[in-house]
Assembly symmetry: C2
Homo-oligomer: 282 residues x 2
């Protein structure tokens, strides 16, 4: 019987457990988290059992690290002596290069495979977990070598991903980080910069009553807490800098030719792309 | 009895008419537009009557220009000979300096008062008009001198604005254009630039399946048609350039210190501002 150990039973870890159950997984799901969280997870039926890290990890077919990035980096060295051969260790951190590199240095007893489910919502914590969170979402896997996906434990994990309705996407850690720098980290920084820019603009003070829907859309990401972003920004500095440069170049080009036909072409390209995003989305 | 002449019976002009009726306006509402539009407006009960510009304007207490900016600029000179003293001519264009300047040069027979209701929605045309469109929204008025608001016709128009539930905001044309450059034109260009930047990024091609809600929010404005924005951009070049510079400076500062505490402070400022926008909104 397979045993899945979820380390960090919050929104992502809890939703992964619920999704597996929903998909008919009949093995055991053990949660490792603070007592308050595991009590709630047990009460909500998200996990079957709670154990200490030391007790849980040696029993695992799959260890699923759903902590924030900095905690994953901290915990990796202490996991190695607990792992048994044949176990797959994976994580759900939002950046991959730093984690994969650290795992390569510290995990020797079992296989590590980096992952990143592109799923989430505004509310955090196990109470917000839901079985459909991953449905139709990309699930990035970042093996250092494609053969790493062929082990029994990796095949089991790939099946889990497919069974919960997510779409496995195989990319290198570097390519993953470049991609999310553009499609996730850049939009976040843009929204934060816009809101900060407006907050500091003296004339906007009189204004905020009745912001239109466009301004509300543009500043929604800016409400994200820094605690989530701190780790992401500090572990993807170079790729984010590249994305920012590319975006700033675009804005500078707009500024240089505001009423030119080149801006018209850009509006058309942008509208086409934005519509295609919506056709492709679930 | 008051007579209101709406020139350009689309979403804004039509909604202004419907809102007035809803608020108990008992005078006459005459529409000037293409035959197809006025037929529809009559059928929908948006206007009482349709006449040519030459027939309608001399009868008006208030002439409400709800055309796009470039059409307003074109039509102003031909309106002057039709206006009678005591009439108020106003417009609903999204930028004000150029229009107000052109009106000062061309309108001599009656009073001109620039206006801009901060209301709209994705669908255009009279069929999309609704009486509640202005409710709770800012309605900018840009007199060249505060005394211009004290004439009987201006007082009548101010009452109309209040009666339809909008909030009159008195600012100079320049201040208006500076403000909307930041809160409206900048968010539009950011969204367009982001979508164009992603569309041109080779690695995003594999990706667009399952864009997250953050990316969807960030690219919603990018679907706006260029036809609406062409006039706005070309009549507010300097203020938009200033807003772009201020925003680009902010992004460059982020890039220079991605994992510093100054970015943390900016996240907190941005989150506070974005939440306050939501508290103030209707």
């Amino acid at each position: 019987m397979e045993t899945i150990v979820i380390v960090g039973v919050g929104l992502i870890g809890g939703s992964f457990a619920l999704a597996l159950r929903h998909a008919g997984f009949s093995g055991k799901i053990i949660g490792v988290s603070s007592p308050r969280t595991t009590d709630e997870a047990l009460r909500l039926g998200v996990i079957d059992q709670t154990l200490s890290l030391e007790q849980a990890v040696p029993r695992a077919t799959l260890v699923y690290l759903a902590h924030p990035i900095s905690r994953i980096l901290e915990i990796l060295p202490s996991l190695d002596p607990l792992l048994r051969p044949g176990t797959l260790l994976t994580d759900a951190g939002s950046t991959k290069s730093v984690i994969v590199r650290r795992a390569a240095q510290t995990i020797h007893q079992a296989q590590f495979l980096g992952g990143h489910p592109m799923a989430g919502k505004e509310t955090r914590g196990v109470a917000a977990a839901e079985p459909g969170l991953f449905h139709g979402r990309n699930y990035f896997l970042t093996p250092l070598d494609p053969s790493h996906l062929e082990t029994p434990a990796a095949r089991f994990f790939l099946n889990c991903i497919r069974n919960i309705g997510a779409i496995p996407r195989i990319v290198s850690p570097e390519k993953h980080d470049r991609l999310v720098a553009f499609v996730s980290h850049l939009p976040q920084l843009i929204s934060t910069a816009l809101a900060a820019c407006l907050a500091e603009h003296p004339e906007v003070e009189d204004f905020p009553i009745a912001a239109g829907p466009g301004l509300l859309d543009s500043t929604r990401l800016a409400m994200s807490p820094y605690e989530i972003w701190s780790d992401i920004l500090s572990t993807n500095v170079d790729q984010i800098a590249t994305a920012l440069t590319s975006f700033v170049d675009k804005l500078n080009a707009f500024r240089a030719s505001l009423s030119s036909t080149s801006v018209e072409t850009q509006f058309q390209l942008a509208a086409r792309f934005s519509k295609s995003l919506r056709q492709d989305s679930p």
